[in-house]
């Protein structure tokens, strides 16, 4: 279900995500004080290497973390062969990575 490599990937992605999520929570509280608009978001993020790298790292780490987390839940509740479980994990990770990369490109480029 969850070998050493997946276990380590889950914990390493968690260690990467923790400071990024804390930063995200702080930015959300700060940025929403006077309401949000597309122009306000884009003025902060467009052309910013810092936000591009931060959100890019966030997307990569969350794709790994969520895919493995959902794999564990599915494996505990549904009797699936290993190949199907692997396919599910890769699919979730791939979809999140692709959608997340598009979102980062949309707000940074």
């Amino acid at each position: 279900m969850l070998g050493v490599r997946l276990y380590l990937a889950q914990r390493i992605s968690a260690l990467i995500l923790a400071p990024l999520v804390l930063g995200h929570l702080a930015v959300m509280i700060y940025a929403t004080r006077d309401g949000l608009s597309a122009s306000e978001i884009l003025s902060r993020t467009q052309g910013s290497l810092f936000w591009g790298l931060s959100y890019g790292l966030f997307v990569a780490a969350v794709a790994v973390h969520a895919a493995i987390g959902l794999r564990v839940i599915v494996a505990e509740h549904v009797r699936l062969p290993g190949v199907a479980l692997d396919a599910f994990t890769w699919s979730v990770g791939g979809v999140l990575l692709a959608m997340g990369a598009r979102a980062v490109a949309a707000v940074v480029l």
Partner: protein, 113 residues
């Protein structure tokens, strides 16, 4: 009948971590989709952001922030449990993680209301 271990505070902490993670994973594609609107459809993104000003949507947002905080602080507790020297004060750590989650989500609620 509820099994004894399922009445333990740390079982509730485990369940909170699992349910918050599951709900966040379901929410993430929608979040990415909306941000992706900024690529070619900034007006649609603005329309969506106006929609989030409805009280019931605001309430859902505050709930999402709470879920994110619960998963983050609960996850930090788990990482500390696994990576740092053992501490017998796990219930206290779980209580602190819950309190911090309420603090953060209340801070968010005050900033958007």
């Amino acid at each position: 009948m509820v099994k004894p271990h399922r009445n333990h505070p740390l079982w509730f902490a485990y369940m909170a971590h699992r349910i918050s993670g599951l709900l966040l994973a379901v929410f993430l594609p929608a979040h990415f989709y909306v941000l992706g609107l900024a690529l070619n459809h900034a007006a649609e993104l603005d329309g969506f952001l106006r929609w989030t000003e409805y009280p019931v949507v605001r309430l859902a947002e505050i709930g999402l922030v709470f879920l994110l905080a619960v998963h983050c602080f609960g996850g930090l507790r788990l990482l500390a449990l696994e990576l740092l020297p053992w501490s017998p004060r796990q219930k206290t750590h779980a209580a602190v993680a819950t309190a911090l989650s309420f603090l953060v989500s209340t801070g968010f609620a005050l900033s958007v209301v």
